[in-house]
């Protein structure tokens, strides 16, 4: 048995009114990848905050031992000093500083306060090589994609002589190939004796890299599974997380598909800043009544851009092409008109684009259709608003103390349900859902799928963008594959497998690369 590098004993952390962690025991051995899983609110992030010193010693009970020594961190610098580095879900890089500047921020290669840039840059070069990022150290962070930024974060951790790397949902906003690269990197680190703790909702990744898996539920450790001793299946993990066997990750569907409701023809969109760059290239898609159409592709393939350009031209310039609803051309030239014509778009980034976080749940739900709860279209009828929004709370099972609670304090899954409620209340015929289950836990995902099914059976036409292939296959009737702004494939979901869809994406890529 390998040496235990980290041991957390009987950790209990309470917030006013809630016991977030209840006697949690957690240990990591030298050179392993230890996955931490659990539904949202299970206490994963809290545990990691205790570990990294965000919650200082004394605000929790229990002990932490790192390499045999007891640790009493007062803040995050204490934990970083001994080689414990946490990379948060929301990246903490400064956009208008360069890679090198970011990597050595707070840890500058300086003597008497004067920075030695040559050293910083040459060390950055080495670090970037280690993480496999082919960029100049002087590149500004803002010019990098999320996947590359993630790598910079890891390089930053390496610069701090990391012994134990903690990653909080590192792949949540990455596409499959970037995710794979990242996981590959973790495996490499393992070879070099760096242990990692990986928090993730993506069970396939866990299956791929985990040496052991600890499951948290409701603030307690449920079990630790050792995948070195035998294969741990996704279903096994899910059973531990939700406390029940979820043989069906996707609710069964009974599709009743009707006539074509919505169609986009010869759709072209140019990038708003990089002139001449086409983000949608002669796109033709259609969706039928009661049908769920999936839009698969890598991140950056232009799926979100396509959806937003259709939704009231909220993205891009020089948009050309025509949209038809029920066979008739419709005017979607601004968001107001798009909503009025029955098109809705639920964004992939609910915090930045979907919700007014500092407003109440009810205000968020009614925002896109205020007139429906107003007298003479001008005066808000509050009782009406309350009863309408309470209805959605019940129908979509939004877990909250009151419909007047701030959206800020909801979990990811419940926030997503608020976003969905908002668009349902706008009563669209065509609903575009962009990554509707991103960053939410398995139980909430199932609920979202159920809602999607119900909407389809009510006759709505749904376009779902998703980066998770199992989800596309499990929920959709038909799949479009998008790459580089083009639709490169179309197939019924019944004929498709993860491999075939992936192949479609990759084959096209190779062809282009060869060309």
């Amino acid at each position: 048995m390998a040496d235990v590098i980290l041991e957390m004993r009987n950790i209990t952390k309470t917030f006013p009114g809630v016991k977030a962690l209840d006697n949690v025991n957690f240990s990591v051995t030298q050179g392993e990848i230890h996955c931490l899983v659990g539904e949202n609110g299970a206490g994963k992030s809290t545990l990691m905050k205790v570990l990294s010193g965000v919650y200082p010693h004394g605000t929790y009970s229990g002990e932490i031992y790192f390499e045999g020594k007891e640790c009493k961190f007062q803040d995050i610098t204490d934990s970083e000093e001994i080689g414990l580095v946490i990379i948060h879900q929301e990246l903490a890089l400064i956009p208008y500083l360069s890679i090198a500047e970011n990597i050595f921020l707070g840890n500058e290669t300086a003597k008497n306060g004067v920075i030695n840039w040559n050293e910083a840059i040459s060390r950055t070069r080495d670090l970037l090589k280690k993480v496999g990022l082919d960029e100049s150290p002087n590149t500004l962070i803002t010019n990098l994609g999320v996947g590359k930024q993630q790598l910079v974060e890891i390089a930053k951790a390496l610069a701090k002589k990391v012994r134990l790397l903690i990653l909080d949902e590192p792949t949540a906003s990455l596409n499959e190939s970037d995710s794979d690269a990242l996981l590959e990197l973790l495996l490499q680190f393992k070879e070099h004796g760096i242990s990692s703790i990986l928090i993730s909702h993506k069970l396939n990744e866990i299956e791929k890299v985990a040496d052991s898996i600890t499951i948290l539920r409701d603030g307690s450790t449920i079990e630790t599974l050792d995948s070195r001793k035998g294969h741990v299946t996704e279903d096994r993990i899910i059973r531990g997380m939700v406390g029940r066997d979820m043989t069906h990750r996707f609710p069964p569907r009974d599709s009743k598909i009707g006539e074509v409701v919505f169609e986009v023809r010869d759709w072209n969109v140019y990038h708003p800043i990089h002139e001449g760059r086409k983000v949608s290239n002669n796109v033709n898609i259609k969706v039928r009544k009661g049908e769920v159409v999936g839009l698969a592709g890598l991140m950056g393939a232009g799926r979100t851009e396509l959806a937003m350009s259709i939704f009231g031209r909220s993205y891009g310039t020089r948009i050309s092409g025509t949209a038809y609803k029920n066979g008739k051309e419709v005017d979607l030239s601004n968001i107001d008109k798009a909503i009025a014509n029955g098109v809705a778009y639920a964004t992939e980034d609910r915090k930045a684009y979907g919700l007014v976080l500092i407003q109440e749940i009810k205000d968020n739900i009614t925002l896109a259709n205020l007139k429906a709860i107003s007298d003479y279209d001008v005066v808000i009828n509050e009782p009406k608003e309350m009863s309408v929004t309470s209805g959605y709370r019940e129908k979509l099972n939004i877990k909250c103390s009151s419909i007047r609670q701030m959206a800020l304090n909801l979990s990811g899954g419940n926030q997503q349900k608020v976003v969905l409620s908002k668009w349902l209340f706008a009563s669209p015929d065509i609903l575009i859902l962009d990554e509707p289950t991103r960053g939410i836990d398995v139980g909430a995902k199932y609920e979202i799928y159920t809602i999607i099914n119900r909407l389809a059976s009510e006759g709505k036409a749904i376009i779902m963008i998703s980066s998770e292939l199992p989800e596309i296959l499990g929920v959709c009737d038909r799949i479009y594959v998008m790459r580089d702004g083009k639709i490169v494939g179309e197939m019924p979901a019944s004929d498709a497998t993860q491999e075939s869809v992936m192949k479609c994406i990759m084959t096209q890529q190779q062809e282009v690369m060869a060309a």
């Binding site: 107001d336 976080l357 205000d363 925002l367 205020l370 808000i380």
Partner: protein, 389 residues
């Protein structure tokens, strides 16, 4: 009493402000030997602060939108100057002048709103430019000197009082109409609060305990009747107070119950989300600036009428009092948060500080220090509460 304390905790900001205002008023009442609450002084307090409150209403909407307007002091000056030039130099009818001034104010707001909302230049810069431009234009219009006096009708806007229609009873030194208005207003307020409570109850929402409802209405009634009594013992209700009452009620309604108000909060809270929900954020922001220009023009008219002349330095530094009133009243500098009643109480707090310290003979130097500290303390209180939660 547990419910009362939780109720207080949940609304600590609003009640805290009111308590602070009352405490400050009592403090000055004692320190000034009872001058503060004299009818003439209370009337003065209202007259002195009317333009600050008028502008605070517009500023609040801009701050909720997430921006700021530094130009309002200069707009007050340029509109005052315009009024002076039109009435005194060109003998334009005073009522026509008011209409022209309001239109010009709205145009100034539209001018600044255009740069902010459509060209996306930060409001801080646009209105800083506006501050210089309109101050300069004031000097140009007035050619560097004061213009006045104004006709009596125009002065009445600021210094007039409502006529005593009920003077038939001939009570000496008592403005009966004022008192009757106060009583009617109290009844209307109690009735409205009662109806709102009933409505909430009907829809099964949590209502405040009944004794709290009684206590609250008793206090409000006492304040309204007390104020009206004080006014009635002097010259009655000032015209400006009626105007203020209409404005405050109107803007309270807009912010709390109208579609446009809700959209302004949403835009300030998350502009992108509001935009993607079909809110025309550019037009909305433009509108809040037009509204600000209109209210600044109104304030400019009130100031000119009160001073009975247009002076080049009118409104100098006023933008800071207006902005301070909003922030003291709980508005958030990052947008999306703020209440009309808060801004009004904040403006009164600043006004009482000015007034009380002036009576006590505290110099303008120390007045500024105290006001600055109060602003800092109020915002600290906000931040502290937010972090504690």
């Amino acid at each position: 009493m547990k419910t009362l304390s939780t109720l207080f905790k949940n609304n600590i900001r609003e009640y805290g402000m009111l308590i602070a205002l009352v405490a400050v008023m009592l403090f000055f009442q004692v320190q000034t030997g009872g001058i503060l609450f004299k009818p003439v002084n209370i009337t003065n307090l209202v007259l002195q602060n009317s333009y600050i409150i008028t502008m605070a209403l517009g500023m609040l909407l801009i701050i909720i939108s997430g921006w700021i307007d530094l130009s309002v002091g200069s707009v007050v000056a340029v509109i005052g100057a315009l009024a002076g030039v039109l009435i005194v130099r060109y003998n334009v009818d005073w009522f026509v002048t008011i209409l022209i001034c309001l239109a010009v104010g709205a145009a100034i707001g539209a001018f600044q709103g255009y740069w902010v909302a459509y060209i996306k230049i930060p409001a801080f810069i646009v209105t800083l430019a506006g501050m210089l431009i309109f101050r300069g234009l004031t000097f140009i219009l007035l050619q560097g000197e004061s213009v006045g006096p104004f006709p009596v009708d125009f002065q009445r806007i600021s210094s007039g009082f409502i006529p005593d229609f009920l003077n038939v009873f001939n009570i000496p030194n008592f403005h009966l109409t004022t008192m009757v208005i106060g009583i009617l207003l109290s009844i209307v307020l109690i009735f409205m609060d009662f109806r709102g409570r009933q409505n909430q109850d009907k829809y099964g929402f949590e209502v405040t305990p009944f004794y709290f409802f009684v206590l609250k209405n008793l206090m409000i009634t006492a304040a309204v009747l007390g104020l009206c009594y004080l006014m009635a013992s002097y010259k009655g209700l000032p015209n400006v107070l009626i105007l203020l009452f209409v404005l405050i009620s109107g803007y309270t309604f807009i912010t709390s119950s109208s579609v446009i108000g809700r959209r302004i909060y949403a835009m300030g809270g998350n502009e992108k989300a509001a935009k993607l929900s079909g809110v025309n954020t550019s037009r909305l922001l433009f509108t809040t600036f037009v509204n600000m220009g209109l209210l600044a023009a109104l304030a400019g008219i009130i100031v000119a009428a009160r001073l009975n002349s247009s002076t080049p330095n009118a409104g100098d530094g006023m933008e800071l009092d207006v902005i301070a009133a909003c922030f003291i009243g709980g508005a958030s500098a990052s947008g999306g948060v703020g209440k009309v009643i808060g801004a009004v109480v904040g403006a009164f707090l600043v006004g009482v500080l000015n007034n009380g310290m002036s009576i006590m003979g505290v110099g303008i130097d120390w007045q500024k220090v105290v006001k600055g500290l109060v602003l800092l303390a109020a915002v600290f209180f906000d931040v502290y509460n937010k972090n504690k939660n």
